[in-house]
Symmetry: D3
Subunit: 320 residues, 6 copies
């Protein structure tokens, strides 16, 4: 049976489905009865849930967060839909169709990753090679890298989005590097591969997309350079010699890839390679954002709604 | 004999060479003697010139501006080099080695233009085709287009620079358009070809680079859209039907290609094609600017001087 | 019977009146029944409309957009008022009291236009004269000019608002030009007359105020200069000689009249006449905006609500 | 004999004229000889002066600052002109042609002041009337008001410039107030008269233009509102009743007349009258600034040099 | 009986309590019946109130604003809670527990004021001493100063908040002044004491917190300097001699204490003492704001909601 | 014999002293003679040096950079002072009075470091303790930390400046932490100690102050967090357990201590401790900057020159 998505629930419907539960709290009414308040969600949205006549036993059994099977009905309260729960039971993640909870790239993750490996294998410089290989050999990290979203919102905000973004950026770089012969190709390729690697730690995406505490405190830009330096330290500890200017150039490309202080880059691009990574990143991100914005709205209008990130509405009509 | 460049003249040298003259003025000293003040320049720079014991006849014969043969010597006055002129004679432009006066692209203009024509010939849409062909058929304009600089300073500031920039942008577009299948290719190609066409009227570059009055009052962005609309009006007057939404989309790409209000774009990009043209333009311009900045300084330092347009110094060292 | 304005409808009222319909869509419920969703509006606002038990025949008969007579009732759904429709029938625009749908200037359009013609007839320069006359002689355009709103929101956002704004600006210019003898009067008068002429194409205002596609892609500033150049091209084609520096100066005044890049001017004022048009425009717009803001709120407070465009609340009290 | 202006002195000229002296310092050379360093200036500029073989007696006699008669000659030192002084004697201010030292309005100060009085006499509101009259009756202040410059640089930077500016603003207001009937005329007239009254204390202009310490610490905007409040306190102390809301409205107009926080207004305009005073002030200041910028440069170019305050060059050519 | 706070009222509850009433209006329904609309509030929030079957007599008796005893019930209307009133009677302020209506500092006002007096008594400079004493001796003003809030929202927004803020700032100053021996201690202490004294006139806080008209027109920064100058004028009138540079320095500290034009300071800090007051003010305000933001949210999350004034969410977790 | 400082050299003086040499280049004149161009500097400034009649042997012997003894004389060339060298010989750094080349704190470095150790020893949290001790135990790093300047210009730009700044910040923190009991003291103390630790790698200061390549590419903010993470990695490798949230909180304080994106902080303060470190840093830096600016100018004026970093002139007069 198809999952009933949160965004499709209307008031007064019976509910009998699996949802993600978050932040359940046991409270008592003014009359002293216990009830549980919680958030129920899937990838389409989130609603408040209320289970009246609850007990502490029920509450203690609930995952915080996790998946639950809900029986109950939807209801309008103070103009917000909420779900009144009659029955709640814990569901193991193995029984869950995770696609109902996390949007996912439409492209083939395995294939993109193979092509990515092929593209970074063009790197000739032995020191950059060894750094890149150390990342590729870190299977635990690569597993995260293949699944992480590209962002929380705006662009590539789905499982595999980070890989899709990096993969496409590498394809753009491979296509245009021959047109700019003075740009050091190896730095661009390694820089693109690693520029957002910190998003694997900035974002959590096992049940839903959210920021980790560490991600919010430090941010993916600095996370990325920390991870590169940690890998380099580990390589050096094993006797591999890596020149500091290579590590610093790679670090500079990572730090400056947002292109402006107000977008969180603590350094502005100061190498041709840093400019190229910045522009390819921004181009690919914006075109993805624009495509998503145009696709997601169901309307006959030639224009999308106002997009705050772009400070304009978008012209949706294909004119050719 | 090699031209003595303005930037190489030291105090106390004899001068015997051709320079461009600008703004000559006939003045009298406090003692009543007539002299002529003028600017003398070539592509390396500009100096003040003074001809004492001048006559009105000499003054009247001078081009304003034009080329002159100067005999005299250099001298330091109030810490500025100036040229004291003993003899001055008008030189016809046909006798002048124009390369001494205007920097020029190192690439082959004819070849670039052929490749440009080949690339825009990929346009399939008949209405965009007819617009582009009307521009290509305007031989007087194309002659200007092949020779115009890409800018007054910063990037592509040399004869043929506009063509070099547009040519390279088209090559980038051709390389990456297959990676973005939802982007309307014909609009991108036509948009790139015409996005800076107004620079042919904004800048003058027969003897030196400068802005025209019209260029300063209106700017190349609006000049470009005016020229496109004028061509469309002419085509329509001859009976060719061109839909307004195609003209407006092309116009929008031109207007928004600086990407931000503060850089003189009166509209922000609102179509995927406009975003692509904006990013390709900025990428190509910045990489040219960075390359010129790194090349032009003669120093052993790993860093260039501070670049105001980029708000940073540039790291010149090739590390791989 | 007075029109029941959208903004005055409360939940649970019977509805029997004419409204503008926009974007009707034929949909089916989960049970397979057809219904029509639509927007219903007048000049006071807009509501969702729903016609259950609809048929394809009914749907096809609906104007998209246009005017309809609605019978039904208002109802609260998910905290939004909507109108449930029992009967819908098309109404010809000739039967509609258009004032219910479009706000209109309180001044006399005919009289303002006569005074405008009188004021621009002070222009002495023959070339500016011929340009202005060509516009005045374009009766189709002048009809639009007399009716266009001055904007979508903020200031002069009503039928005849553009004319009211231009008319008042001309009166201000006529009053203060004698105090600034170095300012070229003819340029100011022509510049004011034509500075917003592109709004006739940027905005549509037959049934409601909205932007045209062309207006959103190009904007009224560039539209205005395109229209001036088109008129000049037509005059020149007929043999009238018009100097380019006059066209460019007029164009410059139009392009720079928002006074700052961030307000969409691609050029900053660089002539005394451009400064004067910019200040008169801003003064008249802001005073109209302030007056509307003070008048529209019904409250006893000495202060209006926060006005985002002005970054302040306004002091409404008359203290003298 | 005409005064030899500082800006016209060339190297090697004999000097025999009156200049303003500032900051003389008695120093000793490495060999132990005493000399006096000083600045010498008139309204055209400033130079360093050096008197070798000086004595403490000579030094003590010098005004700090004041006027002196200089005999000596000009000389180039480290690429700066300086004046070598053989003889120096103090000159009483009564012997000085003050016009050589302070630029002055070309208009008739007495006539402007009479017209100003006539214009503010239109104020009907008795409380505003009494405030304005208290200022007009303060003869010491009015003497300063008639002579103060309108600014240190940019606009109206000459003796009588403040009066010229206020006088012209009042003329503009009188001309356009009938076109805006909802604007409270009396507030506008009183607001214009007093909006810059603090410049009489912010600037000093007895021998040259400079800021007072008090002016730099507090600024003319807050100085102006302080002066208005002080006058009101004095009137109230004498029993005149003045409502606080009138004082606050007048104060608000003064505080907000720069129109934006970044130009030093601590409050943004929040009354129609405040908007009108702001726009008239800015219009009159900018047109004066543009006119001065165009007039001051001696060149055949159609364009002035870059004007930082306006972020553009100015088009000087009169085209009609 | 404990007060039923507005924020705790749920739909369908009987109401029998005292609330503040504001802006009551007598209206008639479409059927012609009279009813009274009003706002009811306490310090936790505000709701609409409706009394159907009202009479003009009832209406006239109502305070505008003031306190009333309400009997009725809560009800949901168009998704907003409102209170339907059966009975309304005026309550004298003496019967009201004012703490239910105005939040209040948790610290001891009397004790803080004593400590404040002790700290400013360290001022040695006789002229600053006399100014400070004149303020301390103004018992009416000090009564306001002890009770005024520190702001309308953001920080110290409760009765006694201004005193708490000034008191803590003085404690910080006393603690760090010994570390900066070049800073003139007396100016810092006097500057802190008086920097926000205008808030006593900017804000009203007898029944609820709001801006006065005068406060909105002039602002507390300029109010403060006006009050200092008025006190100085009064002292001088009595023969006390106070040097202008002391008054101006104190005024400068007040004017510049927001540290930037965009925060309403018409002057930027230009004295060491002004920098110190600015930083202590900002530090104390932000730490109070952060503490309130962290405390006020009831949630298990490690992060607060987005704080617009700080452009971030706050990390609430105590990690040590 | 006292060192002759570069800033005190006048034209035409004999030179016989030690200077730092940088970037010597061997060139040939147009006549084919070899000469050496170089920069000569000490802490007071820098001049061009020219040695005519040079040989390759002389050139090769020169340090690049290093110290040399110069015999020659000063001369004015194109309005710039330069030094004409007759004799040049290499000087070992041990013979150099390094204070002539690098400005130094006036405070006692050893004493400040002891007090710093005492202050950070207040840290109670064992994990922060172990991190701080690991830094204190890194003698090589502490040696750099004691000598590094606090910046290249603006504030604390002298040997020992970093320590002086951190030491004073700790003193401020110790003084005010008792006033903010909710702030986690240990985090503030550790955060201050380490917030600028990366400046030891960002700046080089053995002969003169300059940025390292690594410093320019990465910046001291990110350098600092990299160093903290490296130390933590090393501690963990040895078995010490350190919770990630402590490392991230410390990292966050470092990243956000510039308080705004435009000053290079990639994260804005989001913890009370981060706000406190930011304000103490800015307060101490600005007061140092202001004090230096006031001290360095020798003038009788009450005001310093315009300070671009502060956007104001500073009032130098002590008024109490």
């Amino acid at each position: 049976m198809a999952h009933k998505f949160i965004s499709k629930i209307e008031p007064g419907e019976p509910i009998n489905d699996i949802y993600m539960i978050r932040d359940p709290i046991l409270r008592s009414t003014t009359r002293g009865d216990l009830y549980i308040a919680m958030y129920l969600s899937d990838r389409s949205g989130q609603l408040n849930g209320r289970m009246w006549q609850a007990t502490e036993t029920i509450y203690k059994a609930l995952p915080k967060p996790g998946f639950v099977h809900i029986q109950g009905r939807s209801e309008l309260y103070q103009n917000n839909l909420q779900i009144i729960i009659n029955n709640i039971s814990v569901v193991d993640v193995s029984k869950v169709c995770i696609d109902d909870f996390l949007a996912k790239t439409k492209k083939d993750i395995g294939q993109m990753f193979e092509q990515l490996k092929e593209m970074v294998s063009r790197i000739q410089n032995p020191q950059l090679q060894v750094i890149v290989k150390a990342f590729l050999a870190d299977e635990e990290l690569m597993e995260k890298f293949r699944n992480a979203p590209g962002g929380m919102k705006l662009h590539h905000d789905y499982i595999g989005g980070l890989l899709e973004h990096v993969h496409n950026m590498l394809r753009v770089a491979v296509a245009i590097l021959p047109l700019y012969p003075n740009v050091q190709e190896d730095l661009v390729l390694a820089g693109i591969f690693l520029h957002d690697i910190g998003k694997t730690e900035e974002l959590s995406y096992d049940m839903a997309f959210s920021y980790t505490d560490s991600g919010q405190l430090i941010g993916h830009i600095v996370k990325s350079i920390l991870m590169v330096n940690q890998k380099v330290d580990a390589l050096r500890a094993k006797g591999t010699q890596i020149e500091q200017e290579i590590v610093d150039s790679l670090g500079h490309i990572i730090l400056s890839h947002h292109g402006a202080y107000e977008f969180g880059s603590p350094k502005l691009p100061a190498m041709p390679e840093a400019f190229m990574v910045y522009y390819i990143d921004d181009l690919d991100a914006k075109l993805n954002l624009v495509e998503l914005a145009i696709d997601e709205e169901q309307s006959d209008s030639n224009w999308t709604a106002w997009k705050n990130a772009l400070q304009t509405r978008l012209y949706r009509k294909r004119i050719l």
